[in-house]
């Protein structure tokens, strides 16, 4: 399991209407690239420390190392490419999901077998099929992105600022006018809220009742 990069501190928000933030970002720095990608996220209600996703047949896990000043530091590591050994699924993937690993009939699993034979039949597991259009920027030496995200076909937008240096992320937040009262929402939490595995923010429910 190779280290992909140094752990970065991250601030991320999700919402439908990010036009104002996008306009501010566009004024501050040029858009560098746009990429499209599809990912599959594996989610459990109890897991809040591991971000587990599969992209282009490769699984990686980001582990939440620490939270400081409203930022989260995630440490990515590569689990491997499908077909994935049963032993890796048992000793790496399921411990990260925080649930008991089922009995496996194969020594190794293709992605299709993994999804059909292990994931889809587990009542404690949910899968989010996510399509992203990611627009990349550099702001205050931070990797910054605005992305349109389709979660099982439903749209939500996200903005993310990340850097190995938390001070730079905090300064970039300030440049965008994002206050300390804005919640930092990571991908698993946003997906779990949409899919009903995590409660919606209290404010969201209260505003309409």
């Amino acid at each position: 399991m190779a280290q992909e990069s140094n752990p970065r501190f991250e601030f991320r928000i999700f919402g439908i209407n990010l036009e104002k933030l996008t306009a501010t970002l566009d004024k501050l720095t040029p858009r560098l690239q746009t990429r499209k990608m599809n990912s599959i996220y594996l989610l459990t209600a109890g897991n809040t420390k591991n971000n587990i996703k599969i992209r282009d047949g490769i699984m990686d896990i980001k582990v939440l190392e620490q939270e400081t000043d409203g930022l989260e530091q995630w440490n990515p590591f590569l689990v491997g490419e499908f077909p994935l050994k049963g032993d890796v699924i048992k000793t790496v993937v399921f411990p990260a999901l925080g649930i008991v690993c089922p009995v496996m009939d194969r020594d190794q699993y293709t992605l299709d077998q993994f999804l059909k034979e292990i994931i889809s039949i587990d009542p404690d597991l949910s899968v989010a099929f996510v399509k992203k259009v990611r627009h990349g920027y550099m702001l205050n030496n931070c990797i910054t992105e605005i992305a349109e995200v389709l979660v099982n076909g439903a749209l939500i937008n996200t903005l993310c600022i990340e850097s190995e240096d938390p001070k730079q992320v905090l300064a970039a937040k300030k440049m965008l006018g994002i206050g300390n009262d804005t919640e930092n929402v990571n991908y698993p939490l946003a997906l779990k809220r949409i899919m009903g595995l995590a409660s919606l923010p209290k404010k969201y429910w209260e505003s309409n009742d």
Binding site: N152, L155, R193
Partner: protein, 213 residues
């Protein structure tokens, strides 16, 4: 037999419905707006916030709560791919345990939870749903634009399911042929008929099927 003249907002006999959900239906929405006859101002734009209760084991009863009132519709038949829904139950919170036991939970087709109180507020009811492994309460906000095409009641809607946006179009009428003509006129022949219950289940991952686009 003469056709029933549909009036938007009025009570009619059970209507057949075509509805679809996806990320965009720009062409169909444009056609709907151009083909529509003028409609009453009250349906030009409507906003609502609802809670749908979805069940892993039920696909025929559609339960929603709006402004503290519960409304359950049941699927009575499908004709030529169109669905006909009938009201099954209407109630209001606080709700008696007797009604929950005899009418509401049977509609979910799940194991009956133990009810220890005589009457339940909406918050208490949602707590029961939260604790039930086969049920989920889903927040749905709608921004609906009403039209009338080929004597069918139509709408284009932006729908937020737990905060994530999908677009929905529908055509409903007591007359199946009018809906079928509308589907053709809106160039929606290839779009799957997806009702609210199914769309919500797909977005929240309770069903692994995809939306129409």
């Amino acid at each position: 037999m003469s056709k029933e003249q549909l009036e938007i907002g009025a009570i009619s006999k059970p209507r057949f419905e075509f509805r679809t959900f996806g990320k965009e239906f720009n062409e169909a929405a444009f056609l709907m707006s151009r083909l529509s006859v003028p409609v009453p101002e009250k349906v030009w734009e409507r906003f609502s916030e609802e809670i749908y209760i979805v069940s892993k084991t039920n696909d025929i009863n559609n339960t929603k709560i709006r402004d503290g009132k519960m409304d359950i519709k049941t699927l009575i038949q499908s004709v030529d791919g169109l669905e006909q829904w009938n009201p099954l139950m209407k109630g209001e919170f606080p709700m008696k345990a007797e009604i929950l036991t005899q009418e509401v939970f049977p509609a979910f087709k799940v194991e009956m939870p133990e009810l220890t109180k005589e009457i339940y507020t909406l918050e208490e009811f949602l707590e029961i749903i939260h604790n039930h492994p086969d049920l989920q309460a889903v927040r749905v906000e709608k921004e609906r634009y009403g039209y009338m095409v080929n004597d069918t009641i139509c709408e284009y809607a932006n729908v937020w399911i737990n905060g994530a946006l999908v677009v929905s179009l529908n055509s409903e009428s007591t007359e199946v042929e009018d809906i079928k003509k509308t589907i053709t006129d809106l160039k929606l022949e290839d779009a799957e008929n997806i009702n609210y219950l199914q769309a919500i289940k797909r977005v929240i991952g309770m069903s692994n099927k995809k939306l129409a686009n």
